[in-house]
Amino acid sequence: MTQPVSPPRDSIDKAPAASGPPAWRTMLFRADVRTLSLLGVLAALILIGGVTKPDEFLDTRNLQLVLTQASVIGVVTVGMTFVITSGGIDLSVGAIVALASVWATTVATQEYGFVGILFTAVIVGVGCGLVNGLLIAYGGMVPFIATLAMLASARGLALQITDGSTQVVTVDAILDLGERDAYVLGIPPLVLVFALVTIIGWLVLNRTTFGRRTVAVGGNAEAARLAGIDVRRQRLYLYLLSGLCCGIAAFLLIVLSGSGQNTNGNLYELDAIAAAIIGGTLLSGGRGTITGSVLGVLIFTTITNIFALNNLQSDVQQIAKGAIIVAAVLVQRRTASTT
């Protein structure tokens, strides 16, 4: 196990290179080993898929499908990676996706069309994130409890809004976005949004002051405070960011499924945390990797895809998913301790 890295106080707001070449090089190398081991797992899965179902698996449509299905949970995971990197947790992501999707698909909202639905989803997501952030940063609540409360109440509210029924989307502009005609150079728009969120997330975490502050708060909040970081404001922003990602994900899910339902986003919190953890983000905070998280999501989606193509049943799928989480983490621990 590696120790959480807490940057020296004077270097937090400067470029990472300032923390000295040897440590920096070690960090980069470790990150690379981790990424490589994840790429190895993904490559092995692709090999298994290619061998067992060559015609169906190695097919452009299948690639489009895997990436599309990774998009919704992928966007949520990017937000989750920031929160976990800062030493927090967001258990409410699935419930926020559900609430944002049903609110955005109520009949009244659908009258305002594409823009109405998009904005409602994003605003509801950000609003929930704001509540989480205020409770945690300024209310002094433990993230686990605050977001657990949000999980319960957002699900309840989603159920109340829908009364248990499915809100079918009738806005053509939304539905068209999920059709094959909307693909840009063969890439589904959902995947483009996912890619964009990933790139922005990577840049923000690795190349901005905001990102360095996030890592610093997660590594050692007290040290970060002494270094002049407004830790509370930083935490507020992070839960806002997670909520924003949930809002975007809810919109993608509306496009994908053509509806809003209170059961949407079921167990997203666990999938997103699992993807971030196998990606190499430390649950105790202080280290986060967007690349790793996204690879984690892709690994899960690819497994599901291979299982479905081979007509394996859900019990087998769940057992294997658990085994792969364990294997991936063990491989990482090995590679991390040998460097």
């Binding site: 169906e56 449509r61 299905q69 499915t166 509806s259 209170n262 059961t263 949407n264 007509n311 859900s314």
Partner: protein
């Protein structure tokens, strides 16, 4: 039946109000503008002894379960002699046991229970029966016949059977026909029964082979995801049976996105959106196999009859039967109009 439609419209329109009413357990003092007196209840309509019926059901987080609650409430409202004590729905076994015990302590005359888990709630059913409160067990069955006076519910095996026969008849002249199945939650007993019935029906048609089965989760999202995978895995098949119309909304979306229309699809449960699609007949969905939420209204009828010591009209018996299994009718374009009013949202 048309009157029933307008009544449903009214109920859905005042959903928030109903939710409030549900919380305080108050149902009897709403306006009686009931025009639906002409459809046939199980026992006779004549006012009799006042009966208080306790109703405990699971959380209505799904279209069908919501329709169950609505059916129970609207049926109870039309009887002047019935007071309905309704508990807040819960999927938590311990909580539901507590709710039923509260109803027992309140000394309701009859209990109607749709357990989140029939096996887990058997003991509390026994307790009610021992306390002299007859239990109408709705749908998910208790483990012991001693735990209820009367069971009424749907036929999951029959759903699979009838879906299989419908598909079988449509494909009987086709050599080497291929069929796939999109099942519901695999950890529910009812999913296994639906699959078993389907497989048994297909045995009558040696030309048909089931080539794939995936389990979704009764949700739109899972229906879309699993169907998209199935379509990718099976480039060529003739029929699809989907266990549930709610997840069917997602499945139909996946089919549309994949641009496929080379097979016929049969749904399950009887959602309004499925009926509308069948009536329109412009897509793959050709039929749905019923699992009628009207069983909740019938359960209220039976509970009232039990409370008043009546039998069932049209039968020679003096007592109501100990079990009633509803028929899983196949609704297709020919008879969809007849069922349209019972479709749930």
């Amino acid at each position: 039946m048309p009157e029933f439609t307008s009544r449903r419209g009214l109920l859905f329109g005042t959903a928030a109000v109903s939710a409030g009413a549900l919380l305080v357990g108050c149902t009897s003092n709403e306006t009686k503008d009931d025009p639906a007196a002409n459809d046939q209840p199980a026992a006779d309509d004549k006012p009799g002894k006042a009966v208080t019926i306790g109703f405990a059901g699971p959380q209505a987080d799904h279209g069908w379960l919501n329709a169950i609650n609505q059916n129970a409430k609207s049926r109870a409202e039309r009887y002047e002699d019935v007071t309905l004590e309704i508990t807040e729905g819960s999927n938590d076994t311990a909580q539901q046991i507590g709710q039923i015990e509260t109803l027992i302590n309140k000394k309701v005359d009859v209990l109607v229970v749709l357990p989140a888990d029939g096996k887990a709630l058997t003991q509390v059913g026994l307790k009610a029966m021992r306390a002299g409160i007859p239990v109408v067990n709705l749908d998910r069955i208790f483990n012991s016949p001693q735990a209820y006076r009367c069971w009424i519910g749907g036929d999951n095996y029959g759903m699979g059977l009838n879906a299989g026969h419908y598909i079988g008849e449509k494909l009987k002249d086709k050599g080497d026909a291929r069929v796939i199945e999109l099942a519901g939650l695999d950890n529910l007993e009812l999913t296994k029964q639906r699959t078993q019935g389907f497989d048994d029906a297909l045995k009558n048609y040696p030309n048909i082979k089931k080539v794939a089965r995936q389990a979704a989760e009764f949700t739109v999202e899972s229906g879309q995801a699993k169907m998209a995978q199935l379509l990718q895995a099976q480039s060529d098949f003739d029929a699809l049976w989907n266990h549930d119309d709610d997840q069917g909304v997602g499945a139909l979306r996946a089919i549309e996105q994949a641009g496929r229309d080379d097979f016929l699809m049969v749904g399950g449960a009887g959602a309004l959106s499925a009926f509308q699609a069948i009536k329109k007949d412009d897509g793959v969905l050709k039929a749905t196999v019923l699992y009628p939420p009207t069983m909740a209204a019938s359960a209220i009828d039976l509970a009232r009859a039990l409370g008043q010591g009546k039998g069932v009209g049209g039968l020679a018996e003096f007592e109501i039967p100990s079990s009633l299994t509803l028929y899983s009718a196949v609704v297709d374009k020919d008879n969809v109009d007849q069922y349209m009013a019972t479709g749930f949202k």
